[in-house]
Amino acid sequence: MTTERSVAELSDPQRRQAVGGEVIHLMLRMRPPWVFIDEIRRFTESFCACACPGANREAGMALAVHELMQNAITTSRGEDIDLVFEVEPRADRVSVSITNRCASEEFETLRDRIERMNREPDALAHYLEVMRETPSKDRGGLGLARVRFEAQLSLSAAWVGGRVTVRAEGRIRVPALHAIGGTHV
């Protein structure tokens, strides 16, 4: 991390003061087997709760990390996966980027999927469309749409030197989501 002291070492009032203005940057490089994906998610959730105190952003960011890591593990063929997590309180911005080895054909499929997603301005409408279209017995297909809607993040992808970087970014403070249909008791 680039802060002088670990955020986790500070008391709550000190933590809020420290993170109030500085850019918080966390980078992890790993070669995780599938079994560690939950630990990565929990760590992200804990870290985000410290880095974005009071914003209730940690669950969404943890979900985004889990889904993007899950995709990365599938395509990385056992090679290194880099995770970069950034919080800019003054800019009200939070982001996570996952970089891993990726074949060009796989990147093109990913890019087309993200472009199609971004053509639909309504994140929920796209999410529901993907739910209807994706065969329920096939692995995957919902993750990116889930990150966009449930975590309220914008997604993009870039491919450089045989490695893809998928970036999910958005505001730290986001409005509550609302549903259509169904009953809440």
Partner: protein, 153 residues
């Protein structure tokens, strides 16, 4: 722990590497499926979809109007596992309207991901989905298998 679906005898249950689900009876004999653990494997639908099909068949055979889907002890569900609940709603939609039953999700207020994920499922499932959010732990309830008379073939 290997993945397994058990449908013999009077109890429907499934177990994955880090999760389990079992159909039990509520206080009034109504069906309730409790999910526990974390659904995070690469393709949990391989195990969950057959479980959903088995539960669905029992609910239809018994003309159930509703089943509670208890998420209180479900720490997380990845999108691949989430698809099994989409699959479940698709099964319900294929029924004649008079036979359709509701999924009543019981979610934990302390697990924020459940609120937003179930919002999406509500939008997909419409009137076939109800969400109840509890801020406390699961109410005490004697553990009994469902269906009480055994699974119908």
């Amino acid at each position: 722990m290997g993945d397994s679906v058990e449908g013999r005898g009077s109890t429907l249950r499934v177990a994955g590497e880090k999760f389990s689900a079992e159909v039990l009876s509520g206080l009034r004999g109504e069906p309730r499926v409790e999910f526990r653990g974390t659904i995070s494997s690469s393709n949990p639908a391989e195990v969950l979809n057959p479980f959903v099909e088995a539960v669905h068949a029992q609910l239809v055979a018994r003309r159930a109007s509703e089943i509670s889907v208890d998420f209180l002890d479900l720490e997380f569900c990845n999108s691949s596992g989430f698809k099994s609940f989409v699959f479940w709603l698709e099964q319900i939609r294929r029924l004649p309207e008079a036979q359709r039953y509701r999924l009543r999700f019981i979610s934990s207020a302390g697990r924020r991901w459940q609120r937003v994920s179930l919002l999406a499922l509500t939008s997909f499932g419409g009137e076939n989905v109800t969400i109840e959010t509890l801020s406390t732990s699961r109410p005490a309830c004697p553990v009994r298998p469902w269906p009480a008379g055994g699974a119908q073939s």
